[in-house]
């Protein structure tokens, strides 16, 4: 039995060395940061608005662009306000229920999804607002029809096409037309299954 134990430990060490040598080079992560680590401009924008209570700050790193993200709740709705590394406002995302999309837009979205997938199920929907700081600020406080911001919808769906089931992220414009479809690489679930 000593031999079994020795073999087991040797295998562990060898495999650990092997995976370290061939570790993935893709680098993408999001982590919590303290308020005093966030650019003053971003903090100023948040303070400029009405008091929202607790805000969680995150820093997002990837190959394309790094960003600070403030996550908060307003009237029980989840908001995510994204800033660049200098603290300039990029966009505001609001998580919402599909039923809250205007009927003609929702019909267009459903039509587009039916054309692209054999079957689909909407998992998550975010409405994305981008534009000038004045309009976005106005949107957070008292939205007005005269505000000029670009509206997009970002959906996470479970989709089936050509017999294959995957998670997808689909972006629509304000009219419900598809702008982009990308496959989401599912995270490894082995440690929850075995």
């Amino acid at each position: 039995m000593k031999l079994v134990k020795r073999t087991f430990l040797t295998t562990c060490i060898c495999l650990l060395c092997y995976t370290q040598a061939f570790a993935q080079t893709k680098f993408e992560r999001e982590y919590r940061v303290k308020t005093n680590e966030v650019p003053a401009r971003a903090i100023a924008f948040i303070n400029w608005q009405t008091s929202y209570g607790k805000i969680r700050w995150y820093y997002e790193e990837n190959f394309e662009a790094n960003a600070y993200e403030g996550k908060l709740k307003i009237n029980k709705q989840k908001y995510s306000i994204e800033f660049d590394t200098l603290g300039n406002l990029q966009d505001i995302e609001v998580e919402l229920n599909v039923k809250r999309i205007d009927s003609p837009v929702l019909d267009e979205i459903k039509q587009s999804l039916s054309e692209k997938f054999d079957r689909y199920k909407i998992i998550r929907l975010q409405q994305q607002f981008s534009g000038n700081i004045k309009s976005l600020s106005s949107f957070l406080q008292t939205p007005s029809p005269t505000d000029s911001y670009v509206v997009r919808y970002e959906m996470t769906i479970k989709g089936k096409k050509n017999g294959s089931r995957e998670l997808y992220e689909v972006t629509f414009n304000s009219a419900g037309e598809v702008i982009n479809v990308s496959t989401i690489v599912s995270r490894n679930t082995d440690n929850l299954e075995y």
């Binding site: 039995m1 079994v4 134990k5 087991f8 295998t11 562990c12 495999l15 650990l16 995976t19 370290q20 570790a23 993935q24 680098f27 993408e28 992560r29 999001e30 982590y31 919590r32 995150y58 998992i123 479970k158 294959s164 089931r165 995957e166 998670l167 599912s186 995270r187 490894n188 679930t189 082995d190 440690n191 929850l192 299954e193 075995y194």
Partner: protein, 240 residues
């Protein structure tokens, strides 16, 4: 009945003392009726995808006991190697993130008598506010030369969440919690075991994770004498 007694009889200091004493004695009695085991249960878990839908999982774990005895009594230290398990499971994707799997396990015991186990499972993945929650329903049948076959029906809920940020990213710590209920039938006898496992994990990357923690198991839940097992765990999950 005790609540009725409380209502009808004014609680004096002596009554309180008596109740505390009875409570303490009942706990002592319950503990005296329980056994415990303390040991280690490290495992290595290696998975690989054969193609888009099929995959294989290899697992090896071995057990050692460092202490055993009756709760409340002096421990009987008895360091002992118990067994080594080797298993293989073949899985098929049946949904976006759901899988069915079938497998075989061989348990090489200290006494040289090997056990053979067939396993079937379905794992269903759900997401609640960004939290991953996996439901696993598993059945297994265990056979060995000198004994009745053993049949088990198990349900496990498992979840993990990042200690920093919304998702578990490379080079981040995370917490994993599992809770499992194991129904066991052997030779006309039934027993239930409940397992609770809090683990601290570290993701080297998405395909390489280390976890350390405690696996607490209370067995014979519906019987007079409970068995309590405390297993120190180190799990290594590797996807090739």
């Amino acid at each position: 009945m005790s609540q009725l007694l409380f209502r009808e009889t004014p609680t004096t200091l002596s009554t309180k003392k008596l109740l505390i004493l009875l409570f303490a004695l009942s706990i002592r009695s319950a503990l005296a009726q329980s056994t415990y085991l303390i040991g280690t249960l490290p495992s290595v878990n290696i998975s690989t995808n054969l193609n888009e839908n099929y995959g294989l999982n290899f697992k090896s774990e071995f057990r050692q006991i460092f202490a055993a005895g009756f709760m409340g009594d002096e421990p009987i230290f008895d360091h002992r190697y118990i067994h080594t398990d080797l298993s293989i499971m073949a899985s098929r994707k049946v949904g976006t993130e759901n899988k069915v799997a079938f497998g075989y396990l061989i348990r090489m015991r200290e006494d040289g008598e090997n056990l053979h186990r067939l396993t079937q499972q379905i794992a269903l993945m759900s997401h609640i506010n960004g939290l991953r929650l996996a439901h696993r329903i598993r059945t297994d049948e265990t056979f060995h030369a000198n004994g009745e076959p053993r049949f088990r029906l198990r349900y496990r809920a498992a979840s993990d969440f990042a200690l920093n940020g919304a998702t578990i990213d490379p080079r981040e710590f995370y917490i994993k919690l599992t809770n499992e209920y194991v129904n066991d039938w052997q030779g006309g006898n039934y027993s239930l075991e409940v397992r609770v496992t809090p683990l601290l994990g570290y993701a080297i990357n998405d395909a390489n994770k280390l976890e350390i923690g405690l696996d607490y198991r209370i067995g014979s839940v519906l019987k007079d004498i409970n068995t309590n097992s405390f297993w120190a765990m180190i799990n290594w999950y590797l996807k090739l």
